[in-house]
Subunit: 400 residues, 2 copies
């Protein structure tokens, strides 16, 4: 269900080594749209990230996003930067868009050059132009084209009623490994694109995006590795015709937007490389919210905890040990821990619980871990996945 005025699609261009896999996606708006973006805070930023940051900092409106998989165009120096700009300008020319109005994103192997010299890329963009549309198939093709080790299509949408009509928001995300997004304002290999036909100017859109990412994408880790290419872009083209939103309607919009980013973020953890289980970690009753987040993220990135959950082992010892090294002060003697609904640890001491029942609970596809600090009223949730043999397999031989 795409918002009005957008067309998207994906084709196979040959940029990915995976025979037959779609690898080039295009998202265009029929008229220039307000845009907001967040990018990786990694000091090593891929060429498309540097290109987008420059373009968004200049301001103005944007007409589309061209994105590829199979090559990250990272650590490619000046040639890589020119390739990224060229990628955009070929789309701009083909669609007769204003120069500088197309954004770009890449994901895949670091250090390889994009093959977009010569006429090949122009032909591919021509092919794409004939393959974009508004159908569910078009959506799937666009998302398939930005996927790398992802195992399923991650997209979602919301429709909200506002005073003057109806607004749609659509979002997709790609990412399964090198996932620990850490992005900032205009300066984010998770790629996520959100499209809406709401009328919201860039500055407001940026604020909505940043607040939303803090509660969603920034609460997800697959392996603790922050990519060189993380990119999160929103386009708002106003085609809903509902005009500028009232404060109440903006609230509604934000709620739906937050819903989308959280659903997309969770789907990234669910599709984590080699994942067999989705893990939600909630640290509650902390004195300070950031303490709760730090403890939750430390637990979520502990290889020992993640392998224990893979083994369906209610190993609360690894939960409390990870919490203890988070760099946050708390009283271990007040802590309670619940794993898969089972109370395993109370006031700093192990409880007797049925290992059989615990195993049964941990064999489910979703596992919730709750750490109760009993020190205050703040809480924070973090999302991750287990650490399996397949994670090692996928990453032990990624380039070949």
């Amino acid at each position: 269900m795409l918002p009005k005025g957008f067309k998207i699609g994906g084709i196979r261009s040959g940029l990915s080594k995976n025979e037959g896999k779609k690898d080039l996606a295009l998202f265009i708006s029929e008229s220039p749209a307000h845009a907001a973006g967040m990018f990786t805070k990694n000091i090593v930023k891929a060429a498309p990230v540097l290109t987008d940051i420059e373009r968004l900092e200049k301001g103005g409106k944007f007409s589309g996003i061209i994105a590829n998989s199979g090559c990250a165009n990272a650590c490619t120096g000046d040639k890589g930067k020119k390739d990224a700009e060229n990628m955009c300008s070929i789309v701009e020319k083909s669609f007769d868009f204003e120069s500088g109005s197309v954004l770009c994103a890449s994901t895949g192997v670091i250090g390889q050059y994009l093959s977009i010299s010569g006429d090949d890329f122009e032909k591919n963009v021509d092919m794409l132009k004939n393959n974009i549309g508004v159908s569910s198939e078009n959506e799937d093709e666009a998302v398939l084209a930005i996927m790398t080790t992802d195992t399923f299509i991650k997209k979602t949408s919301r429709k909200i009623e506002v005073k003057n009509g109806e607004i749609k928001i659509w979002g997709c995300v790609k990412g399964a490994g090198m996932i620990h997004p850490n992005m900032q304002g205009l300066h984010a290999t998770m790629l996520s694109f959100i499209l809406t036909d709401a009328e919201i100017e860039s500055k407001t859109l940026q604020t909505i995006l940043e607040n939303s990412a803090d509660k969603s994408f920034h609460c997800v880790s697959v392996d603790g590795d922050t990519s060189t290419n993380d990119t999160l872009i929103v386009l708002a083209n106003g085609h809903s015709g509902t005009g500028k939103l009232s404060e109440a309607d903006l609230e509604k919009f934000i709620e739906a937007f937050d819903d989308i980013t959280l659903e997309l973020a969770k789907s990234v953890a669910k599709d984590g490389e080699g994942a067999t289980k989705f893990i939600e970690i909630e640290v509650k009753n902390a004195e300070i919210k950031n303490d709760a987040k730090l403890i939750a993220s430390t637990i979520a990135t502990s290889p020992l905890l993640k392998t224990a959950i893979f083994g369906a082992d209610a190993n609360w010892g690894r939960v409390i040990a990870a919490a203890g090294r988070a760099g946050v002060k708390f009283d271990p003697n007040k802590v309670d821990i619940y794993i898969g609904g089972i109370h395993t640890f109370k006031n700093g001491i192990a409880l007797n619980f049925s290992e059989e029942e615990a195993k049964k609970s941990l064999l489910k596809k979703e596992v919730k871990i709750v750490v109760d600090l009993k020190a205050g009223e703040k809480s924070s949730k973090y999302y991750t996945c287990d650490f399996s043999y397949d994670y090692v397999k996928i990453n032990g031989d990624y380039r070949s």
Copy 2:
């Protein structure tokens, strides 16, 4: 080759569930020794750690260390604390040592109680008393008794000639998982015990230990998880008869001591859970030493890099990506990266290198990664191991 005046040994007491595995070790000095210790900085500290900290803070001399595997005596509350103290006092009584003069250490499953009530533990200490000695077999038995998932005995020794004779230093270490030691002064499930017959008073010994750990144990990571039980204790009993060391002799002692801690620390990484390869990461030519260490440790704890090395994949992209998220400022366009002796990355750009040659180099048991920042003159080394299927296997089912 034990230093003079020490007797050590290990027996099977039944504390470990592994049938037949030795699980109780004793290290005693014939006369009270100066001591220094470093313990985990994890906010959740095991009962033996709390006990040792109290005893060392009181000062005085120490006669021995009792240590077990199979049970960490962590998260065991007041009962655990009493068990730890009881463990020490049973040894004190048996040997007629002064009360408070024995230290203790535990490693194993978190949250279980030590079974040292009743007469059993006394009988075990009696058995130990008959099984300690100064032979190489005694050394091996002591180290075997503190091992958990370790696959080989990690011990080493040095002999140095000083003005008035000869001094010996002997050290052992245990640890393969939950390894990312982060210890501090009197306040570390790596267990390491170092014995020497040098005459060095506690304050100097503590300084030597802390400086040495910063260059060795604090530069090792298996999985980034800091344990609740990390313990590093040195006993110096003066039995060499060489008396107080001259400044020149102290320098010699420190050199040998640093040699031992570095060898022991490296052996921990070599025996990392499921490890097939030892990885040395050197970050050189940084402006600030701590920046070099932060980058090296971030690379060493990247699951993506560790799985790539397991797969013998010269994936420098993961090296630069990890460096970039270390939270340290550097110019990526100046960086060179060498993996297994192969120059893979120069001034921020990929080099063409023979994948075949790289694969050959990475199939060796030891892999060296060098990151040259070309920004200054400081450098730092960090030691780790690869991330294999067996890591997941070992940790997916540790408790059962």
